[in-house]
Each structure stands twice: as structure tokens, then as C-alpha cells.
């Protein structure tokens, strides 16, 4: 008896979204993830296209206008394979997946401040982040805490000012009020749980209320609650009498964690099966079909059998692609072919944060328009689908297309299978 219709391998955004869509369509889905993936590191915002041409320093505002030129420049990119309609359908379907009201700024990107006050162009953002939109000239006060290391309100506000956006910006760094006053050091998640306490918020408001009168909106590090986030924001806005927004912190990210928990909740509510902590170590292909995968439990390998298999193991960062010092590059589960140059010298450009990306980041699995992996032009297994940053030519640093690719490819597979 096969217990599952589909096994999804990888618990990043691509895997979780595919799993949610399929489970909602009535499939029996097993989601297996070796750890939790880049979702809890990222901003929690969905980037679709942030820069075009990709080496441009000007962020894209109306991304649908730039899409065709991006596709023309990158004919092998997953967007080019699946088309603009699919991207829009995917964004729409994602918005219905969780209770968080991810917002779109019409046909424009949100321009939200990053953890260092740079502009982050992004397509869908939770309301708490969208309210920091830098396309809006309302003045802002950025508030931070000494105990939350690596979040510098002064740096953020100075960088925003330096970009001449016409936004009056100031910063304020405080010590944590009670009941956090004894802490020397605090992590974003710990601070998020403090924000969920009414007495902490009250103390905080009493310290900053008088000092925020001259500003239209108040920016806090993105730690405004975890499970009770919406309530925390409403309460702060009420007490401070003005909009409150969140600015991303360095990883781990609380908004990313919220998104992870929300998707997990959707999946589990729909009776999806989930196994986080386990690695898929092998897959078996016979006569053009995957017949099973093997997971590594604490004491033995266990076969997992389903009708369809979705591989969402991420790129080099996610563990979906392995490399070694000999210049080998491989996909460890099915040993799928990865087109690559075995001379490691060619993998990198001298600039670490190069806008055209590192060549090695484009390495991935080549697929047909059903997202089945192919060798030459023939599908290797017609019940195996590849989604997310494991795909070839899907380097998210080029043009900032990260979660857009994850969502679009997930939606495509859900449409094919559901």
C-alpha cells in the first residue's frame, strides 16, 4: 500500500509551497526536509524581479514591464520556461495559502529598507514590512536596542538619507526596558517573544512616545512578535498613534520564521505528513520512473514510496548540489546530471557580491517544460519534478528572483499533478 501520492523533498519555500498546494488539492503528501532551509534566513518577502538588467544598480519599480527583457536576456531561466501568466498565478495562489495578508504594491515593487538601510526591491511583503516602503516619503524614526547586536538604527537611517529619497529619517537606540532590562544580549526570536508581552510594550511605549511625535512612522527591527505578530503591531500602532513597520535583521529572520510556521500550519491542518530532520540519501529510477526514495532515520534506511516525487533540495547553499575540491559537481539524491565546468577557477568571479552572480550559482538540474529532469532532451524520470533553486540557470542573486522562482515552479508542478 502506497501511503502517499507525492513525496516532496526539501522544506524551503519551493518544497513547502508545492506540498501545501498539492495537499490542499486532496493529495496525500509527505514532505521531507533535512533541516529547515533558507526560509528562516531570508527577509520573509517574495522577490520576483529586483534588477534588470541584472547588473544595474537601479532597482526595478514596475517589474511586469521589465520581465520580457529579463527573459530575453535569460532564455533558460525558469521564468522564461514557464511565462508571465504562471508567475502571476503563482503569486496569487501563494497569497491564499496562509492567513498572513501578503500585499502587492499594484504592479510595482515595494522598496523596503534592508538590515543596513539599502533598498530591497520586492514584490510581495507582509503588511508590517510593506509599511516601510521607501517610495513613500513619510518621515521615519528607526528604533533599535543596544542588546540586539548587529542591528544599527543609525547606519540604517544614514543610508536611507544618503539615497536622497526625500524621506526624513532619524534613529534612536535604547536599552531594553523591563522585563528585558537585565539582558546583556538578545536574539531576534527572544526579543519577538518579549514583544508579545503587554507589559514590555507598555514600558517601551512610555520611553519612546514623547520622542516619536515628529515622525510619520516608526521602524523597529523585524521582531514584532511571532505567533501573535498581528496583535503586537495593532497594539503598538494604537499606543504610538502612528504606523509601525519592521526592518529586516541579520539572520535568523523572524518574518522568515513566521512564514515557515504559517506554511507548516497550513500543511499540517490539511493533514499533510511532515518529517523535518531527515535526509533523503538515495532515489531509485527504473524504466524512466522513480520507484522509491530512501530516508536516513537514526538507525536504518527507510524506503518511502509514492506516485510522484518533487525534488526541492535547493542549490549549493541548500544542499541540493554538492561540489568537491576536484571540481566535481553532483546532485546527491538521484545523481542527476549537472552541466558544469570542472575547472574550479571558472566557478567564481573576483567580486563576492557580484550583481551578475557567481557562475557556480547557476549550476543546477536541466529540465523540460514539465520540470522533469532531462538528459540530452529525454526525461530521466517522468514522475520526478524539480522546483526552486535546484534548477539550472536559477541563480537568485541575478536580478533577485529568489522566491519568485520557488513559487512559480511550485505552482507549475501543483497544476500538473493536482
Amino acid at each position: 500500500m502506497s501511503l502517499y501520492d507525492t513525496v516532496v523533498i526539501g522544506a524551503g519555500l519551493a518544497g513547502l509551497t508545492t506540498a501545501c498546494h498539492l495537499q490542499n488539492k486532496g493529495q496525500r503528501v509527505m514532505l521531507i526536509g533535512h533541516g529547515v532551509g533558507a526560509l528562516v534566513l531570508g527577509s520573509g518577502c517574495i522577490d520576483v524581479l529586483g534588477y534588470q538588467p541584472v547588473e544595474s544598480v537601479e532597482p526595478v519599480r514596475a517589474w511586469p514591464d521589465k520581465l520580457s527583457s529579463f527573459m530575453a536576456d535569460h532564455p533558460q531561466h525558469p521564468y522564461s520556461l514557464l511565462g508571465e501568466t504562471k508567475i502571476n498565478e503563482a503569486l496569487h495562489a501563494f497569497q491564499g495559502l496562509t492567513e498572513t495578508e501578503y500585499q502587492q504594491n499594484g504592479s510595482e515593487n515595494w522598496l523596503v529598507p534592508s538590515a543596513v538601510g539599502a533598498i530591497h526591491p520586492t514584490c510581495l511583503a507582509p503588511p508590517s514590512i510593506a509599511k516601510g516602503h521607501l517610495g513613500d516619503t513619510a518621515s521615519m524614526l528607526i528604533v533599535g536596542f543596544e542588546e540586539l547586536r548587529d542591528f544599527y538604527p543609525a547606519l540604517i537611517s544614514q543610508n536611507i538619507s544618503a539615497q536622497n529619497l526625500g524621506i526624513e529619517t532619524e534613529s534612536l537606540t535604547l536599552n531594553l526596558p523591563e522585563p528585558g532590562a537585565s539582558k546583556l544580549n538578545i536574539t531576534p526570536i527572544e526579543l519577538a517573544t518579549l514583544f508579545e508581552q503587554a507589559d514590555f510594550r507598555q514600558q517601551l511605549v512610555s520611553v519612546i512616545k514623547a520622542r516619536c511625535q515628529d515622525y510619520d512612522r516608526i521602524g523597529f527591527p523585524a521582531v514584532l512578535g511571532l505567533g501573535r505578530h498581528a496583535k503586537v503591531v495593532v497594539d503598538l500602532e494604537k499606543q504610538l498613534g502612528r504606523p509601525v513597520f519592521e526592518v529586516g535583521t541579520l539572520p535568523p529572520s523572524v518574518p522568515g520564521r513566521r512564514l515557515f510556521e504559517a506554511l507548516k500550519h497550513t500543511f499540517v491542518q490539511a493533514k499533510g505528513r511532515m518529517n523535518i530532520g531527515t535526509k533523503v540519501v538515495a532515489g531509485e529510477v527504473k524504466d524512466g520512473r522513480v520507484t522509491q526514495v530512501q530516508i536516513e532515520t537514526t538507525n536504518r534506511l527507510k524506503p518511502i514510496i509514492a506516485e510522484n516525487y518533487v525534488l526541492a533540495t535547493g542549490g549549493i547553499l541548500g544542499g541540493g548540489i554538492q561540489t568537491d575540491d576536484q571540481g566535481r559537481v553532483w546532485e546527491p539524491v538521484f545523481n542527476l546530471p549537472i552541466d558544469h565546468n570542472s575547472n574550479r577557477q571558472t566557478w567564481f568571479t573576483p567580486k563576492f557580491l557580484s550583481p551578475v552572480g557567481q557562475p557556480v550559482s547557476s549550476y543546477g538540474v536541466v529540465v523540460n517544460d514539465r520540470l522533469n529532469p532531462i538528459e540530452d532532451t529525454r526525461p530521466i524520470a517522468d514522475n520526478l519534478y524539480i522546483v526552486g533553486s535546484l534548477l539550472a540557470h536559477a541563480d537568485w542573486t541575478q536580478g533577485r528572483t529568489g522566491y519568485g522562482v520557488a513559487l512559480t515552479t511550485a505552482k507549475h508542478v501543483a497544476d500538473l499533478l493536482g
Binding site: 536574539t187 526570536i189 517573544t193 531509485e284 530516508i295 537514526t298
Partner: protein, 422 residues
Amino acid sequence: MTTSHDLDEITLSIWEQVQHSADLCVKCNICTSFCPVANVTDMFPGPKFVGPQAQRFRNPHEISVDDSLDYCSGCGVCSMVCPHGVKVMEMNAKARYKLYKTKKWIPLRNRILGRSELLGWLGSPFAPIANVTLKLKPLRILIEGIMGVHRDAPMPAFSWETFRGWYQTVHKKSPQRVISDKKVVFYHACSVNYYEAFIGKAAIAVLEHNGYEVIVPKDQVCCGLPMLSNAEFDAARQNARTNINSLVRYARAGHKIVGTSSSCTLSLKSDYRHILDMDDADARLVSQQTYDICEFLLELAQAGELKTDFQPINASIPYHSPCQLRAHNMGLPAIELMELIPGIQIKHIQADCCGIAGTYGYKKEKHDISMAVGKSLFEQVKATESDVAICDSETCRWQIEHATGTKMIHPVQLLAQAYGLT
């Protein structure tokens, strides 16, 4: 392309070197953001710091200085969420051993909590008296003062009759007992033997109903986990060796070993090998043949061999998957199994840990942390307004029952009920 032949040759890779897995850490802090303890107390800086980061400073020839390590509950959430395969919890357990070794003493309280079997053995014959006296507040305050066992920590009730006693004197002689070529070994652990014999009986009933003869080896002892988590590795190894010697005979004959206690089966599967470093052929064989009972039954279901003559149970029941069960890395077989019962709705509570973590929540200085860790779980269980809730692990059941007043059962009890065996 990988073939089935290759599959057999793949060895379990991640466990090979717990300490060396520190080198895989990229300092992303995912583990810290998920650690249930670090998020509720300042006493513990979190898994990244005390695990892979501190590991670099743990010279084998020098003393260990990081006392905060003692606040790690051993729940294993860090190892589960780490995307890079760092075995943080296992690293912490080993470092704690070193910490206590350099201190040269382990509090009497920890030694006693580490000996659940001795406690059970002392308590069972006096069950009625012991059960009443342990409920007396003044006595509990006294025990807290002298020993540091928190006055409010949950105390299970002793059974009058041990499970093994029942098996030997009643069940073995019963004409209804199933004798079959299909045999399975039951590792009952202390909780079933001394406190919850009814769970052992339910397990036997369900296994026999499916045509298995159940063997209960006489020479099995406490798995040793309570000693291990109280840094008594030598004592834990003695217990481990006794169990391995007892169980390996059956493993060699190809029999599977099942247990109802998820932390004890985890010891057999993993801790002996990966924390106590007893990675010999016998230990491996026992490990490979060990199953959580729901895992075993679900595999039967998958093979079409599980009886499905369940009577409907029309109820919605909350279920908590304990951290020690999730650490088996096998998924959540209990949910899939229970959902085979017609009419049942299993409400999977979203919480990482109940806080008790074996003996952790019993300690005076850690009880409040343990209750804070479990807070969200308790709230969710209460919100369901169900009279009964389900959990695979005994100390977690006791903790949740104690905190919420909800009657807690093991999944196998529900199965026994659905089969009409109780």
C-alpha cells in the same frame, strides 16, 4: 543513476563523527532560534554557542568551563532543524559528561533521578502508600529542600503489580496467549514495568491481535538514558551492555524489537552508538532491529499486513509528537496509524517540546524553565477542550497531564480500544 544495488551499500553517513560535525556549522543560528530553552531563559545562550562554537575550545586535556551547558535539556530540536547536519544535541550530551567529570561530582539528586528503575523497584511493592505520600505537599517541599526535586514536578503513580510480573505469572500462562512463528520482542522499559503496565498490556494485545507472538526478555533493564542525561556515562554504559547482550540474541534470529517508550527506543537505536560510543557489531544489530511500536505497525500497514478491523471512534483528539520521537527521524508514524481508525480526527498540536525532557523538569532550578517551554503546548491542549490527549512518551504525558489536567494516553491504547481489545 542510483540503483537498488547501490541503495544497500549506502551507509548511514551523518553519525560518523559527532564532534567533527562542528566543522559543518555555518553559524546561521537557525538552531538557536528554534531552541525551546534558549528562548525562555537567560541561563542558556543556545545551541550554536554551547555546541559547535564551544566545541572548538574543548581541548581533550583541559577542563570544561562552560557551566551553562547544563541548561541544555537534550530535546534534540537543534539537531533536527540544522540544515547542515551538525549533531548539536549529541555534542552537548558528550560535553556535559566532560563537564561533570571535571567537577568530579554529580549531585545525589541527579544520581537518584538517573535511576528510574531503582525508584520503581522501591516504589512498586508499596504502591498505595508511596502514591499517597508522594502527593503530600509538606513531604514534597521537604524533598525539594533536601534533594532539589521540584515540589510541583509531575510524579507518576506506581503500579501495584509490575508489568514483567504480570507477563511471567499471568500472561505467559494464559491459554489466550498467541504462539506463532511470527515473533516480536517487546522492550518494556521502566515506565511500563513500574508505572504504566496497562500500556504494555495494550501493546501486547495489539501485537497479538495482528498474529504476533510477543517475547518479553527477562534480563532487560532500564535503557540508561536518565543516567546518560545526568552525565553518568559509566553507569549508562553498564545498562546499555546488559540490554545489548539480552536483545542481540533475538536480533540475530531476525526478530524485531519494539517499544512503547520513544526515548528508550531512541537509546537502543542511537544513543548507545552515537553518544555512549558503543558502536560495536552487537550494538549495531540491536539498533537496526529496534522499532518504535507505531513505526512497526505502520510498516505492517504499508505491507498490507495490518488488521484493519477497527471499530469507529468518532472523536477529535489532540496529539503531541514528543521531541524524543521526532529525533528518530522517521516521521510521525503514530498519526498515520491512528488515522486508519474510522471516524477519528487527530489534531496535531504544533509545539516543539513539553519542557520535561526526561528528568530535566524535575530539577528545582529548571522546573520553571520547563513549564515556560511547555506553555504554548499546554495552551493548545487546553483550547481543544478534549478530555483526553495522546502522546508517545511517558514523561511528556505526565508533564502535560500535570499542567493541563487532561488525561493522557499512548497511541497504542487508542488502537487497542479501536480493535475492541480493552
